[in-house]
């Protein structure tokens, strides 16, 4: 796939470029700020944009704002936002759109999983960092918390669903057969009263909506 990278730190940017190239992808542009990103996207028509949340000039949320803007102009484009740390609210809001990923920078070191997530996002799927999911899926103290009714395995499946993985991806990750995963997924969705949906990213949306609603 064709990738555009926006990251202000030179070493990290170069590392990312090499990572994608080593993985057999084409990096069509790498930028040091978010300012020139829309032009690069319009010029190169990439499949995926990878960008840092904090970039010049204020190092607050330039990346996030640029991501939103690109997503509005090119809804079909996959956007993967990398962050040094987790901001749950921000992350969920962005991921809800589909074709969107939000990962901690650390994840790049697990090259296989990272590239898989990037490819998923480029294809219109979702990728939500496991840490964000964990903070959403941790059971609350309320006695009637539906999450408490899940088994350990079911919770693992739920987390991977929330991360945006397909049934096949989950089966691969958990070293289970796809049919077993399907059974777990049905059970989870039933226990949480979430309507079933074939498409992975719709499922992510439903799960996230449920989880964020339960959180508040």
């Amino acid at each position: 796939m064709r990738v555009v990278i926006a990251e202000d730190q030179v070493l990290l940017r170069e590392g990312l470029v090499r990572l994608f190239e080593d993985g057999g992808h084409e990096v069509v542009a790498s930028l040091g700020d978010a300012e020139h990103l829309p032009a690069a996207v319009a010029g190169h028509r990439p499949d995926l944009v990878v960008l840092d949340v904090r970039m010049p000039p204020t190092f607050t949320d330039e990346g996030a704002r640029a991501a939103k803007q690109i997503k509005e102009q090119h809804p079909e484009l996959g956007v993967l936002v990398l962050s040094q740390h987790i901001e749950t609210a921000h992350a969920v809001e962005l991921v809800s759109q589909g074709g969107f990923g939000y990962l901690l920078k650390n994840r790049v070191l697990d090259v296989g999983a990272f590239l898989a997530a990037a490819e998923r996002v480029a294809e219109g799927g979702s990728a939500l960092d496991p840490q964000v999911v964990a903070s959403l899926v941790s059971p609350g103290s309320a006695a009637d918390d539906p999450l408490a009714a899940l088994s350990a395995r079911e919770r693992e499946v739920l987390e991977l669903m929330a991360e945006g993985l397909t049934n096949a991806g989950i089966a691969n990750r958990l070293v289970l057969s796809e049919r077993t995963v399907e059974a777990h997924v049905r059970s989870v969705l039933m226990k949480l009263s979430i309507p079933e949906s074939g498409e992975a990213h719709r499922r992510v949306l439903a799960v996230l909506a449920h989880l964020t609603a339960a959180q508040t």
Binding site: L11, L12, G15, L19, D22, F59, Q84, L109
Partner: protein
Amino acid sequence: MGRFSPWPWALAAVAVAFGVLGTVLNALAGSHGEPAWQWALAVVVMLASTGVGLLVAVRRPGHPIGWLLIANAFLLATFGVAQSYAAYALQEQPGALPGPEWAVLWDQSAWPLLFAVLIAIAFVFPDGRLPSPRWRRVALAATASLAAFLVLSFFDSEPFEAPYEHVDKPLPMLPGVFGWLWPLAFLGMLGGLVAGVQAVRVRFRSASGIERLQLKWLAYTAVLVPATLLVCLTGALATGSGDDGDIFTALFFFMLGAIPTSVGVAVLRYRLYEIDRVINRTLVYGVLTLMLAGAYAGITLVLGTGLGSGSAWPTAVATLLVAVAFRPLRGRVQDAVDRRFSRARYDARTRIVRFLEDLRAGRAAPEAVEPLLREVLSDPRLELRFFLPESELYVDARGRPADDQAEDSRVRTPITRAGLPLGIVLHSPVDEGRPGLLEEVVETAGLAIEIARLRVELRRQLHAVEASRARIVSAGYEERRRLERDLHDGAQQRLISIGLALRHAQHELGDSPEKAGESIDGAVREIDVAAGELQELARGVRPAQLDAGLTPALRELAARAPLPVQVNANGERFPQELEAAAYFIASEGLTNAVKHSEARQVTVSAELLNGKLAISITDDGIGGAAPNGGSGLRGLADRAAAHGGSLAIESEPDRGTVLTVELPCE
């Protein structure tokens, strides 16, 4: 002031010359003259009248009172001369001087002129005009009867009084038929006196403000003299001493001196406003004297009868009791006098005293003193401004800085207590009818004002401490935020990029292992840099050199600075948190100097001075740093204050900056 007029001076000079002449003659008259002390009193009175008259005539030319007073003095002097002339030329050295019979005539017949002057003063006091045009007739009648009296007196058929009954009269005698005129002229004179009193009363009734006070002064002396006589008489009766002739003579002179003095005070308006206080004090001490003298006489009488005369006991007991009773009795009498004669003042003081009692008992807040003053003085615009000596600021009751000058018509009266300024009262211009009331009320309420001031000061200090604490907390938060940034954006990213480099090397191991070596070398170099960054970050949190002491930490700080920094410190050790505070202050001060001062050389010193650790940062830069100019300096001041220390800045433009922080070492 008007132009200079020689006349008052001339007339006064003549009067004084007459006085001198009379004194000389009286001395020559020896035993036939007046006793020296009486003469001295008379001269004092004459000089007082001259002096006050001259003052009034010069200050207020055209005002008749000055002339009248000088005339009074002049008349007194002529009587002195006439009397002593007669005594010398008829008794001491008979035949030595010509025309002594004229002197006797003047001395014995011209005295109504003295009354004429007094009546004239009463008529035209205090503005120099008659009370109304109708009074012209009264004045004419009084003048006519006085003239008639003088004529009768000068041409009287009776012989002179002793000791000059044998002296021939120089003027022809009036036929006996005129004898019936005497009672008429006498009544006329009396009428003049009554009219004088009436003139003062009429004026007083319609007067207000200053004129009322002026009239009070005159009335005061007019009433004081008979009142004093009464007191002395009572005293004399009570103590039982016999001959009081000398006392009465002295009192007579006192009266003659008191009148011109009070008239002068009134017309010149010098200390005019004290009349109420003077009357008040006179009443209090007069009544007090009467009561104590009565008690003394009663006790000595009763005990004396019991113990028999000649015993010293009654006197001793009476003296003791009177002495013991003095203070409490004075308080009572003062209260009674105030209640009867100065109601407003009495009420005001009573309310404030009650308020102070409530304050002591905790039933009232000291801040309520401001509304109380407003109420007591019936001045809704009254406001207090408290003075804070530390900041030399004036603040209102809520502690907000406020103008100590009123923009409107209000008057500014300072409040002091034990010689120290407490603040000021802004109030409407005082009612001239109630002089001194404001000062008295404020003085009585002084304690409450002082407490209110202290509380305001305390609240302000507390507020400053809270603000400083909030700034310290927020600075701490900022610091953590910066650290978080540095860690996330620096070390963490670098570690990730190292990880990526290693992953790349891993990838390369498959196709081109020789390149993988290079990649790993690059990664190791990155690790080195990351370690350096972490070290730098840790130093920002707390430099490890501080473990070795403040001096080595400062030397390290100096070595890393981008310009030459000299460190003056002798290696002395202090408590850890104090050394850390000193280090960060020096570091912040040095950063400021580097950033803002354009200095070429900086000196950092740390030394123990009078039990305090003094840190100073001196640069040779452009100066002009203001203590509350930037957040950096305020942060330093806060840091210093948090350790109970203080910050001082000396920063003249182009003269460099010396920043000194002193931290107490306990």
